[in-house]
């Protein structure tokens, strides 16, 4: 990188080693935090890093500096905050990596019912209809469906954890495709949970 202020050429992150001026920040979150791209992140360590970087980059520290540095500080802190928000949450983090690797959610989002859920969805809709028709016993059915969904979410957490470890060690497209499928499934299930909750309340 070439320093915008003193034209020094350097490799450091954020600051020119010669004149100390704040530099345009990297946009990639992993690069920004100075960590390799992986999914099994140590969040406590990332938080320490977040606080340290906040102290160095926050606009409050640049109020007496040049216009250029002030705007760079706002830009850098925005990326820092967005990055921290994204990387600290395993689901957001996975979405971020998937997006970078070309596994976007795309247009279809969660409309397609994952095949293994077809039966569950059918039963849930039946129960909801029954409840609306005044069949109070359907309430029980909804509650037990809710519990099953919660169980599915919990087990998908474990699936994700294993897939994270796999991608971190071997890389490649396969684990990512599997993660994509789990995330879609989760999205679908959480919609079902919400539907059931709405009917019960």
């Amino acid at each position: 990188m070439t320093c915008w202020q003193c034209s020094e050429i350097f490799d450091d992150l954020f600051f020119c080693p010669k004149c100390n001026a704040l530099q345009p920040p990297p946009k990639d979150y992993f690069q920004f935090f100075g960590i390799r791209r992986h999914l099994g992140i140590d969040v406590a360590q990332l938080q320490t890093q977040f606080y340290d970087l906040s102290r160095k980059l926050h606009p409050d520290r640049y109020s007496r500096k040049s216009e250029r540095e002030r705007s760079l500080s706002t830009e850098a802190t925005a990326i820092l905050n967005d990055g921290w928000r994204t990387l600290k949450d395993p689901l957001e983090r996975a979405e971020y990596v998937l997006n970078q690797e070309g596994f976007n959610i795309g247009e279809q989002r969660s409309k397609d019912v994952p095949p293994e859920l077809l039966e569950e969805v059918f039963e849930l809709n039946m129960a909801i209809e029954d409840l609306r028709d005044g069949d109070a016993s359907a309430k029980e059915q909804l509650r037990s469906a809710q519990q099953r969904f919660a169980g599915m979410m919990a087990s998908s957490n474990q699936d994700l954890e294993q897939l994270f470890v796999r991608w971190d060690s071997e890389g490649g497209k396969d684990p990512l495709a599997a993660i994509r499928a789990v995330l879609n499934r989760r999205r679908y299930i959480s919609n079902l949970i919400r539907d059931a909750e709405k009917e019960l309340s």
């Binding site: 409050d60 520290r61 109020s63 830009e75 925005a78």
Partner: protein, 617 residues
């Protein structure tokens, strides 16, 4: 002869003051070596009532003087203008029922208020209040003050923040930062002394309510979540009590005095006094004397509590939502800080204590704590306060209107700011030159239920087949909680022109015009400061000469010399009443000239005494 080179060093640094621009009262504070201090105003009063009046000859009057006029000529006075900041005519129907705002013609995009024959926007009224605080600060420091940190309710939206920033600019202040009031209060409490922990700040002011939950971490104040209601406060309690009393009066006297502003304002004053006393006394007399009639009622705390319970309850919903958003359990909250005049009310305190299961902090004056915190933030910006850093959040989600009026959220509420999001846009028709983006703020699914912030017009797109342009739009919420939008065409890398049409508030041109107008006022202010400084200097010189007249040297002067000095003194006293600082300096100089002989003789006498002193030894 050698001369000194004085190195001013840090002293040359510009001073930044902190200002709490409140619904009921405003005040300024600054940072000294011992910590944040309040800046005293005229007559030593600390609080400046946020009230503006217009005198018979069209001059604005600010503060205590204006407040007094409220009961004598209410149509010349405006108060609680903070409730109108950044709002459109459509959202103030409730306010108009309860406050005597006179809306002028042409209030489509910005509300125009008529006050005593003059027309002001809400930011202009706020600017008059800010100008008063700035004047107080300049008189106190004896130097120009141009930079400030101003506080806003945490739950203020973009338009309300922008309006506050505009007010600062109109008052001739460079607003270096808008700080959220509850966060400022946390800074003032110096809770960073406790290295770790979670604290809640409950801020019930004159017109706004905020709740914020913060995590402390070695000097970093990280806001986890914030919630509130920008139209809930002590004002609402007053209005409720007034409504009850008016009804009572109507039953007793058989007449309706609602239409008489003088009577209503006199009653309002009595109600506020009663409310304040009830924080200490178990019962008070509420009385109104009007046109020979007297109304009197005993008001016990039990009745008062019963009356205001619905209002206090309205604060608890946002508290619970905030705790949920912060993802903390109630028993994890270590401390609760109380801010705002309305937290003096015992019922408010007990409700907060019951909800948070913790004894609330009330050590600092709830009217001053926000301004003190603003001063701490000013210290952080100037570099004087080094280890403390505030990480605040945006209170409301930011989204864009998509097909069918549905909101697509870009930045979630309670995101740490600065925060950003990018979206890609393209054209739908061949040769399309513009793309319009409607940005809203709020939590609802449909754009019509959210708060419209602005329409951004991406202009002058190079004519291309439909779908080919790739315009990346960056939405950035800065450290003040204010939205900035930039756009770039990805293929060409060309910066795209973005025209902003704010839904509510002043355009840049309007603010600029008001700033220009206020520069003239600033010159008046500057002159006034110079006059004040000259007067102080003159008084010092007069006191010195007066002291000289007591000395033996005075008697050694000829009658003529003594008469010349007396004349020069009188002249200086006379011109001190004028507002021409040059004239005051002239007369000071003249007095200095004619007292040289006296000064010399005094010196000799002093030396003589000193010499005699040595001899005796």
């Amino acid at each position: 002869m050698s001369s000194f080179q004085i190195d001013f060093g840090d002293a040359a640094k510009q001073r930044i003051i902190g200002i709490d621009l409140g619904t009921t009262n405003s005040l300024g504070a600054f940072m000294d070596l011992t910590g944040p201090q309040v800046i005293p105003g005229e007559n030593g009063a600390l609080l400046v009532p946020s009230v503006v009046a217009v005198s018979e000859d069209g001059q604005p009057i600010v503060g205590a003087q204006a407040l007094k006029m409220l009961t004598t000529s209410p149509d010349r006075v405006v108060y609680s203008v903070k409730r109108l900041m950044g709002r459109g005519l459509g959202d103030i129907t409730e306010e108009l029922k309860l406050f005597p705002f006179h809306i002028a013609e042409g209030s489509d995009s910005v509300i125009q208020l008529e006050v005593g024959g003059r027309v002001y926007t809400a930011p202009e009224v706020s600017a008059l209040i800010l100008r008063q605080i700035r004047k107080n600060a300049e008189a106190f420091f004896g130097e120009a003050v141009d930079q400030a940190v101003i506080t806003v309710p945490a739950y203020f939206n973009d338009a309300q923040r922008q309006a506050t920033k505009d007010a600062g600019r109109i008052a001739g202040l460079e607003v270096l930062r808008l700080v959220n009031e509850p966060t400022a209060a946390a800074l003032a409490y110096g809770l960073d002394k406790r290295k770790q922990g979670i604290i809640a700040v409950y801020d019930l002011g004159g017109g706004t309510f905020d709740i914020s939950i913060l995590k402390l971490h070695n000097g970093i104040f990280e806001v986890l979540a914030t919630n509130g209601d920008t139209h809930l406060g002590g004002d609402d309690i007053d209005n409720l009590m007034i409504a009850v009393a008016l009804e009572d009066i109507e039953t007793e006297w058989g007449i309706n005095i609602r239409g008489n502003q003088e009577a209503v304002q006199t009653l309002r004053k009595a109600v506020i006094e009663a409310k304040e006393q009830l924080s200490f006394a178990p019962a008070v007399q509420l009385s109104l004397a009007w046109e020979g009639k007297t109304y009197q009622r005993e008001l016990t705390r039990a009745i008062f509590d019963h009356l205001i319970t619905p209002i206090v309850d309205r604060t608890l919903g946002p508290c619970r939502a905030c705790i949920a958003d912060a993802k903390v359990a109630i028993d994890q909250i270590d401390e609760v800080v109380m801010v705002g005049g309305s937290t003096r009310i015992p019922l408010v305190r007990s409700a907060v204590e019951a909800l948070f299961k913790a004894k609330p902090h009330t050590e600092l004056n709830p009217d001053e704590v926000v301004a003190l915190g603003a001063a701490v933030q000013a210290g952080i910006l100037s570099g004087d306060v080094e280890d403390t850093l505030l990480l605040d959040v945006t209170p409301l989600s930011l989204g864009i209107e998509t097909m069918g009026g549905v909101v697509s959220k870009l930045i979630q509420r309670n995101s740490t700011i600065p925060a950003s999001a990018t979206e890609s846009y393209t054209t739908g028709v061949e040769g399309q030159r513009n793309v319009l983006i409607h940005v809203v703020q709020g939590e609802r699914e449909l754009a019509k239920d959210c708060r419209s912030l602005a329409r951004f017009d991406l202009k002058d797109i190079d004519p291309m087949p439909a779908g080919l342009p790739r315009i990346e739009v960056k939405f950035l919420i800065d450290a003040n909680g204010i939205l900035n939008v930039t756009a770039r065409e990805q293929r060409t890398g060309k910066e795209q022109t973005v025209e902003v049409k704010p839904s509510y508030g002043l355009s840049d041109e309007q603010v600029e015009a008001m700033v220009l107008e206020s520069i003239e006022k600033a010159e008046e202010d500057f002159n006034e400061r110079q006059v004040r400084e000259a007067r102080v200097e003159g008084e010092r010189v007069l006191a010195a000469v007066q002291k000289g007249k007591q000395s033996d040297a005075w008697d050694e002067l000829s009658d003529e010399e003594r008469a010349t000095i007396d004349l020069a003194m009188n002249e200086l006293i006379m011109v001190s009443y004028h507002s021409d600082h040059l004239l005051i300096h002239d007369k000071m100089e003249q007095l200095d000239q004619v007292t040289r002989g006296l000064a010399e003789k005094m010196m000799n006498t002093a030396v003589g005494v000193a010499l005699k002193g040595t001899k005796i030894e």
